[in-house]
């Protein structure tokens, strides 16, 4: 990990991984969508509406995964003064926020026909909304300082404090009674979802993950390059070439 604290070494690795992650994301999305929309059966209770799950659930998983990546990177950036980790935290935030928005919107589209409500204030939904505000707060905070280093430090504190929300979201459906149903895949006693539906769900989850890696690499490369340009400009202005 500390080996890649050197941005140049990271850039070399990222340049190789970017096209592979993009290709993987396209392949997995194509396969996942085919299984999700064509090959998988309707649900015995929910009928065709269950297909919303193949977008909603992977997006929800990613909204948590991106947050953990962001918080851990921000922590590593603050503790070890790891410049690439800082960049990773900064680049993860908008992607995670987007996945959270997708989760909330697709959830509303699923909730209306199944539950009879677009939105309810139960523990799972409320905690997921708090997650969106944590992402937005982090993005606002890191840009609120003239000195980017101070912004990242303040953001890291918020990201680390907010990490407490991740287990709350995951276990909210077990700790309290909620309208949202409990976990189907990651739980004691194995998944309670038929194999013909689990395969497309996991394919879509991998597709989202590959897409995240691709976007993360692109954003991090852009950020590191922008940092170099900034440094060059500063040197030019101060006339110390």
């Amino acid at each position: 990990m500390l080996r890649y604290a050197n941005p140049n070494r990271f850039m070399r690795l990222a340049r190789v991984l970017t096209p592979w992650s993009a290709g993987l994301a396209v392949l997995l999305t194509a396969a996942g969508l085919w299984f999700a929309l064509v090959d998988s059966p309707p649900d015995y209770q929910q009928g065709e509406t269950v297909r919303i799950m193949y977008v909603h659930v992977p997006a929800a998983w990613m909204s948590l995964f991106c947050y953990v990546v962001m918080a851990v990177s921000a922590g590593v950036g603050v503790i070890w003064k790891h410049p690439v980790a800082d960049v990773a935290a900064k680049a993860s935030a908008p992607v995670g926020a987007a996945f959270t928005v997708i989760t909330l919107i697709s959830g509303a589209f699923w909730g209306k026909p199944m539950w009879g409500a677009w939105w309810v204030w139960d523990a799972r939904l409320t905690a997921e909304l708090v997650l969106l505000f944590l992402y937005l707060g982090y993005i606002a905070l890191i840009h609120a300082f003239d000195d980017p280093a101070r912004g990242l430090k303040a953001g890291a504190v918020l990201a680390l404090v907010g990490v407490i929300n991740v287990p709350i979201i995951k276990f909210s459906v077990d700790w309290w009674n909620t309208l949202h149903q409990p976990a189907s895949v990651v739980k004691m006693g194995g998944p309670s979802i038929d194999g013909s539906m689990l395969v497309p769900l996991l394919l879509m989850a991998l597709a989202f993950k590959a897409y995240y890696i691709y976007v993360l690499l692109v954003k991090m490369r852009a950020e590191i390059t922008a940092g170099k340009v900034r440094a060059l400009r500063l040197r030019q202005v101060h006339g110390t070439a």
């Binding site: 015995y44 199944m114 539950w115 407490i164 709350i168 009674n177 309670s192 038929d194 013909s196």
Partner: protein
């Protein structure tokens, strides 16, 4: 101790303290975080009569009765220990049926729950209709339904 170790210790202790504080707060506010009360809680706990509440549980088998010529529907919500009669006027969600989990919102008036909203709760089991058919035929259906502890609220109130 090097400075980075100091920072690591600081972050670790901070997160631990924060986690403990959050756990305590969430435990203390448990009653307000639950989305609905079970029939047992509603029967045994003295709840303020004029407060809007949510009642959750299973629609009791054979309890659904529709009034002729109106949209008024009566049914019982049960957690297999107690059941509470519910009156509701309006459109029901598609998943509403006997034996299905529901959450109703309204007021408890003289032992009858006057609901103005009924939400359907679905369980965490997903399977194709053919599999559900096969399970019913082989008689394993009830085992699976019985294993769905979260279909409704806990059958016996925690406290």
């Amino acid at each position: 101790m090097k400075r980075k170790h100091k920072r690591l210790t600081f972050v670790a202790i901070g997160l631990l303290a924060l986690g403990t504080a959050t756990a305590l707060i969430l435990t203390a506010f448990e009653d307000s975080i639950v989305f609905f009360y079970s029939p047992t809680q509603m029967t045994e706990k003295p709840l303020p009569p004029d407060r809007r509440l949510r009642l959750g549980g299973l629609v009791e088998e054979g309890s659904v009765a529709r009034a002729e010529g109106s949209a008024v529907i009566r049914f019982k919500v049960t957690d297999l220990v107690h059941s509470v009669p519910v009156v509701y006027e309006g459109i029901l969600p598609d998943l509403f049926r006997e034996g299905q989990g529901v959450v109703t919102e309204g007021r408890l008036v003289a032992g009858v729950f006057q609901a103005d909203e009924v939400l359907a709760k679905h369980d965490e089991t997903y399977m194709p209709p053919e599999v559900a058919e096969a399970l019913k035929e082989s008689g394993k259906w009830d085992d699976i339904r019985g294993a769905m502890t979260h279909q409704g609220p806990p059958a016996v109130a925690a406290d």
